[in-house]
Symmetry: C2
């Protein structure tokens, strides 16, 4: 049996490293790309270059930000500010804490939140050797100590690590006299109760509210 030409093999190898992309999908994508005009492939290469060169972490909330100097402030600080931290229309008295930028964007898509964010960059996990000092927790405390924040909403995964991180943060924030809340846990909307796992259902019962 003959083998693919080496450059094709190499591309399949790289594509297979992506999440959810197996051998067959990688082959299909590679053959597709091979059939594209040079400009098309070049556009993808340029987009890949740009995310590395032009995206940095926001100096306030650690969300992704464009490294374009637009975030320069009065002190001449050239490190970038993300679009949300720069937006004068956002409520600066509320900060929602998430573990990764993906979750920040999920919340943005609900369209129901007008406050600021803080991205931890992960969750505390002794098993995986992730400790508080490995996350952007000191950055959060600094923002809170500056004053002006009345509520911190914790929107972390409803897992052991998420719970652990939430409790750690709540304990850190308490002395500052700022209200700490966390997003509600219960049955997800639009799914039959029958398919809801017992832990979720038990939590939903505990958290029942008067209607």
């Amino acid at each position: 049996m003959a083998h693919y030409p080496e450059p094709l093999e190499a591309l399949i190898r790289e594509l297979k490293k992506l999440p959810g992309i197996g051998q067959r999908t990688a082959e299909r994508l590679a053959f597709h790309l091979l059939g594209q005009p040079e400009e098309e492939v070049e556009r993808l290469r340029e987009a890949l270059r740009a995310i590395q060169a032009e995206i940095v972490l926001c100096r306030e909330c650690f969300n992704f930000a464009e490294a374009d100097g637009r975030g320069e402030d009065e002190d001449g600080d050239r490190r970038a500010l993300c679009g949300i931290c720069r937006d004068p229309g956002r409520d600066r008295s509320v900060i929602c804490v998430v573990s990764h930028p993906q979750e920040l964007w999920k919340i943005e898509k609900t369209g129901g939140y007008q406050g600021l964010y803080h991205v931890l960059g992960g969750l505390i996990s002794p098993l995986r050797d992730v400790h508080p000092e490995d996350l952007h927790i000191e950055g959060l405390m600094e923002r809170l100590r500056r004053g002006g924040v009345r509520e911190v909403i914790l929107a972390l995964d409803p897992t052991v690590e998420g719970e652990h991180t939430s409790l750690y943060l709540a304990r850190q924030i308490k002395p500052l006299g700022i209200v700490t809340t966390r997003i509600a846990q219960g049955v997800p909307i639009g799914r039959d109760l029958e398919f809801t796992d017992e832990a979720t259902l038990s939590r939903a019962l505990q958290g029942r509210v008067t209607i």
Copy 2:
């Protein structure tokens, strides 16, 4: 609602152009790539560059070939030959005709074919304005006229366009006195007859063989 930084949007836009990749998958891939070290993304960019720069069509069969000069022959012809055409172990008296390189590799993976190939680059389709002269048919006829080939196997899609192209090729090849065959059509292996469509079943009945 805030938007993704423009370089991230641009990457999602490019990834969405790939077959089978929708908005959500593109977002997941883009966030993954954003979290990768620079060398990783650079490897993918290099693999994309290489398929454009280093893969050409084989001058004999129009399969993908490496443009590395290894295909140079006695006449000093520097256009590339693919690995299969270069392989002295292949049976040069049989040519299997496919529409795209993907199908060639599918057949290679069966491990049961030792002849050569010819890639048409598509199928005749008056509706889509694809005519015989748009495909690598003249290249095939040239190879056949050179002599030494005793059988041409047509392995084209079992569709109207595939049938049409097969009949056209059979008619062109007939005057050369070369046997033209086509791969068997019938019920696919390993699937319940119950789920086989009627056209396939009807064809399988017509093509029944003595056991």
